[in-house]
């Protein structure tokens, strides 16, 4: 289960509402926020693809200015990727770009 640490940016006046919005996702855990509008969250999903989807969904909310990745940990996915059982979408895309 991959684990990711993110900074969610929003305007100061939207903080409360965005926190409520983020709370509605069971995979998202809110750690802290400051008055400037930086919200620290940790997302844990079954697969990386799910995490990418979730981040995209969150970005859809117009109050959210940015979602920045700080930390990604693939955990048990690594084994699967090595065995060729699973390739996260983002790597497939990267491959094509190369």
């Amino acid at each position: 289960m991959p684990i990711g640490g993110f900074v969610v940016n929003t305007k100061p006046e939207d903080i409360e509402g965005v926190v409520e919005f983020l709370k509605s996702f069971p995979e998202v855990e809110i750690y802290s926020h400051d008055e400037k509008g930086n919200i620290i969250v940790v997302i844990e999903t079954e697969l990386s693809d799910h995490m990418d989807e979730l981040v995209d969904t969150i970005k859809q909310d117009e109050r959210i200015l940015a979602v920045s990745v700080a930390y990604l940990y693939y955990e048990d996915e690594v084994e699967k990727i090595e065995k060729g059982e699973y390739i996260p979408e983002r790597f497939r895309q990267k491959k094509r770009r190369n």
């Binding site: 289960m1 684990i3 990711g4 640490g5 993110f6 900074v7 855990e29 750690y31 802290s32 926020h33 400051d34 400037k36 930086n38 620290i40 969250v41 940790v42 844990e44 920045s68 700080a70 930390y71 940990y73 955990e75």
Partner: protein, 818 residues
């Protein structure tokens, strides 16, 4: 409590993100810092009489951590293993969650609604009262119930149901200390406080294994000794070498029960060597003897002590006692200038417990080592709220709230007036004391009993005898508790209660300090705080018995919010009205004041100003004790205003040596003594459900002296049969230089039928205090078998098709037939 790999990675993820934007995460989230919580709620530890202050860490409405309160004057932030871990069983699957009822005790329990449960409870008590009179019902409470709970229940029973059959398990542990203090000082509870420890020069620890039973207080003595190894002396007087003996300079090992001779001999030496305080004795002391409390002279006392010269006493005591050791102990005791004595069950659980207490108090009175910093005669209380709730709140059959004896007409009517009930409601005579109460059940005289937060089926001496009474089908037994116990096995009605921190309330510890615990989490759904249970029950009783006074008794509390307002209202009445003007005045210690203190308030605290500063650390001293200050006529140093001594003097009692009720003989040649270990609290119904503690102490052991073990061919872990005149049990052996030769020591926390030691102890009791002699009876032991793989046992319940049943080899149907 270390974090898992996954949590650690999540924390690292959060930290990395936070550092990206220069955000500092709350300290609690440091990967190496404190556990992460939503809030810390302050309260008192659930266990022993030290009264450690703790904060419970709550996350998402659940308890996840505990830490000590660094500026609390009881523990200064420190905890023992039990205090550190008790939050772990609060959500244990065995928690009682629904009211359970059965008409016959051989049936399984059915889940019922609270409405029905309270109705049944009221019906049964009303039935008994109507048919057999008010003294056919009883309440057996606990030194682990909140002060508010004990106070309210006894108010209902005395003022409402008109019976003084109100008792509690402190009868089994502290009654002799109460008797000792009242006869020696004129008033209950220690004069001094824990803070005397840091100033004391000699410690006399007798009949106590503080290192395991009061570990956080022992820590302070240990530090005092280890930081000042040459000037501080520690004397440990105990037939058994225990972990407490490790810091002792002198260990006095005497045959169980002979300490009365030892203590008298110390007094003999003190007088002979002129080490007593002549001025103190002249100004403040009276000498007394016998039931009639006849006043005698100092010379009579000296003559009486001629029977206890060191040589004579050493002969009586045996063990390692020599005349020289007695003289040395007396010297260190008397000439230090600041001696503190500590004791618990070794002196209290005796047929001559009051006398033993008197004799220790005597030594302090004789040498004037009272009322000054570092000197005190300090009785350690075992339970967290035996003092605050039962001794002060009116929880024993012969005393009303705030130390008012039932038999005193003036004071009894005063209570009736304060309660706003007609004069004459409270019966003028005490009710049954504990052993008499359970005997009355056996005799069919008590038809309904409410047992609250205690397990007499395991904790009474000669337990099988009294379990027969409780197992009767014509005795209605209702039990309020949080887990199944050996006592819920004998109940008709089990009511699930809220645990500490799931309800708000006060505990008063050994040093006269009342401390408040705030509600931090909700109890399991359908478990209720006992105050609410009591009010609702009383309302129904009032209707069924058509007696409006029963309602009047709970009227001020009816409908109050049970989490905070209800206990606050009960405390306001008890502390504000009942203790006001009495020696344990707590009227200044309102909830608001208690919440401002890191610890609590020591009585007397007659004003909020005094209470906010912490109250009174030393009783009877003019200038420190507000009551003494008020009563002082001139410049006298002390005013010993204890109500039981009209002469305002401290009494030195002429007490003889008298042995135990059942001493070893040819047939039963061993002394059998029982006691505790640090890992398990009382009957282990709570601590046994913490995996770390159960693994640390999974079952009882019998400690056997190596010489006896060799003689009897007993090796470590062999199963030993311990037999007394009352039955036999089988317990694994621990061969240790612990008990003296000719004595065995068994831990009593084990619930397994075959290892439950109280089934074979003796229920002889002190004629004055009515406290049983758990510490001494006669037994014979033999090797029963080699080591066996044993399993720890904790009573559980399981739901079957027919209802809830206890899972135990104890079978009530078979037991009833015996």
């Amino acid at each position: 409590m270390g974090i898992t790999r996954r949590e650690f990675i999540k924390t690292t993820a959060a930290l990395t993100a936070a550092s990206m934007v220069g955000l500092k995460l709350p300290k609690e989230l440091d990967a190496q810092g404190m556990p992460e919580v939503d809030k810390w709620v302050r309260g008192t530890c659930r266990f022993c009489g030290v009264g450690c202050r703790v904060e419970m860490g709550i996350k998402n409405g659940k308890p996840v951590a505990i830490r000590g309160v660094p500026n609390a004057k009881t523990n200064f932030g420190f905890l023992c293993m039990k205090g550190m871990l008790f939050y772990k069983f609060m959500n244990h699957p065995d928690r009682l969650k629904k009211p359970l009822y059965r008409k016959k005790k051989t049936e399984p329990f059915k889940e019922i609604s609270w409405d029905k449960a309270l109705d049944i409870a009221a019906n049964e008590f009303a039935k008994a009262i109507k048919k057999y009179g008010p003294n056919s019902v009883a309440y057996y409470g606990s030194g682990q119930a909140l002060t508010e709970e004990t106070y309210l229940f006894q108010k209902i029973f005395r003022g409402g149901l008109r019976t003084n059959n109100v008792e509690g398990n402190p009868r089994l542990c502290m009654a002799s200390a109460v008797g000792g203090y009242i006869t020696s000082f004129g008033a209950d509870e220690p004069m001094g406080a824990y803070e005397d420890i840091e100033k004391a020069l000699t410690f006399f620890i007798i009949g106590s294994n503080m290192a395991e039973a009061h570990p956080v207080l022992f820590r302070r003595i240990m530090n005092r000794k280890l930081n000042n190894p040459d000037i501080v002396k520690v004397i440990n007087a105990d037939p058994r070498v225990s972990p407490t003996s490790r810091i002792a300079d002198l260990h006095l090992q005497f045959k169980p029960g002979t300490d009365l001779a030892l203590l008298n001999a110390m007094a003999y030496v003190i007088i002979k060597e002129n080490w007593y305080n002549k001025d103190f004795v002249k100004n403040y002391v009276s000498f007394r003897i016998g039931k009639e409390k006849k006043e005698v002279t100092f010379d009579d006392y000296v003559k009486h002590l001629e029977n206890y010269t060191p040589e004579k006493a050493a002969k009586i005591c045996g063990g390692n006692i020599t005349p020289d050791k007695i003289k040395l102990a007396a010297k260190w005791f008397a000439t230090s200038g600041r001696t503190m004595s500590f004791w618990t069950m070794g002196l209290n659980q005796r047929t001559r417990g009051v006398w033993a207490n008197n004799l220790v108090n005597n030594l302090h009175i004789l040498t004037g080592q009272l009322g000054i910093p570092g000197a005190d005669s300090f009785s350690l209380t075992g339970q967290p709220n035996a003092c605050g709730g039962v001794r002060e709140g009116g929880g024993l059959c012969h005393i009303l709230p705030a130390h008012r004896p039932v038999v005193n007409d003036k004071l009894r009517h005063e209570v009736e007036r304060l309660w706003g009930i007609p004069e004459g409601r409270i019966p003028p005579k005490p009710g049954y004391h504990t052993i008499a109460m359970f005997q009355a059940i056996n005799d069919g005289k008590i038809k309904a009993i409410w047992i609250h937060t205690t397990s007499p089926a395991q904790s009474l001496p000669n337990a099988d005898k009294y379990r027969h009474g409780l197992a009767r089908d014509d005795v209605f037994v209702v039990v309020t508790d949080i887990f199944p116990t050996k006592t819920t096995e004998l109940a008709n009605l089990i009511l699930p209660s809220a645990f500490l921190f799931e309800k708000t309330g006060v505990y008063g510890c050994s040093e006269r300090r009342s401390q408040l615990t705030l509600k931090a989490v909700d109890p399991p759904p359908e478990a209720k705080p006992e105050l609410w249970i009591a009010v609702e029950w009383a309302k129904r009783l009032s209707k069924k018995l058509k007696d409006p006074i029963i309602y009047k008794v709970v009227e001020p509390f009816d409908g109050k919010e049970p989490g905070f307002e209800l206990p606050k209202a009960v405390w306001s009445e008890y502390a504000g009205k009942l203790t006001k003007g009495r020696d344990n005045d707590l009227s200044g210690a309102t909830y608001e004041v208690l919440m401002k203190r890191p610890d609590g308030v020591q009585w007397p605290a007659p004003t909020q100003e005094i209470a906010l500063k912490g109250g009174t650390p030393k009783k009877f001293v003019r200038g420190i004790d507000p009551i003494a200050t008020r009563l002082a006529k001139g410049n006298e140093k002390y005013v010993f205003y204890g109500e039981a001594h009209k002469d305002h003097k401290l009494w030195i009692w002429l007490r003889p040596y008298k042995g135990a009720a059942e001493e070893p003989d040819a047939e039963y040649p061993f002394y059998l003594s029982t006691g505790r270990v640090i890992d398990q609290w009382h009957t282990s119904s709570m601590t046994g459900r913490i995996p770390e503690l159960l693994q640390s102490a999974p079952y009882a052991y019998v400690e056997i002296n190596p010489k006896d073990a060799m003689r009897l061919g007993i090796k470590p872990n062999d199963i030993v049969e311990i037999e007394t005149r009352r039955g036999k049990v089988h317990i694994p052996a621990k061969i240790v230089e612990g008990p003296m030769e000719g004595m065995v020591f068994v831990y009593w926390y084990d619930m397994d039928e075959d290892r439950m030691i109280n089934r074979v102890t003796k229920d002889a009791f002190d004629p004055g205090s009515k406290q049983p002699e758990f510490k001494i009876c006669a037994a014979r032991i033999r090797k029963y078998s080699g080591p066996k793989p044993l399993k720890p046992f904790i009573v559980r319940m399981k739901k079957t098709r027919k209802g809830w049943v206890h899972v135990d080899k104890f079978n009530i149907k078979e037991f009833q037939k015996k």
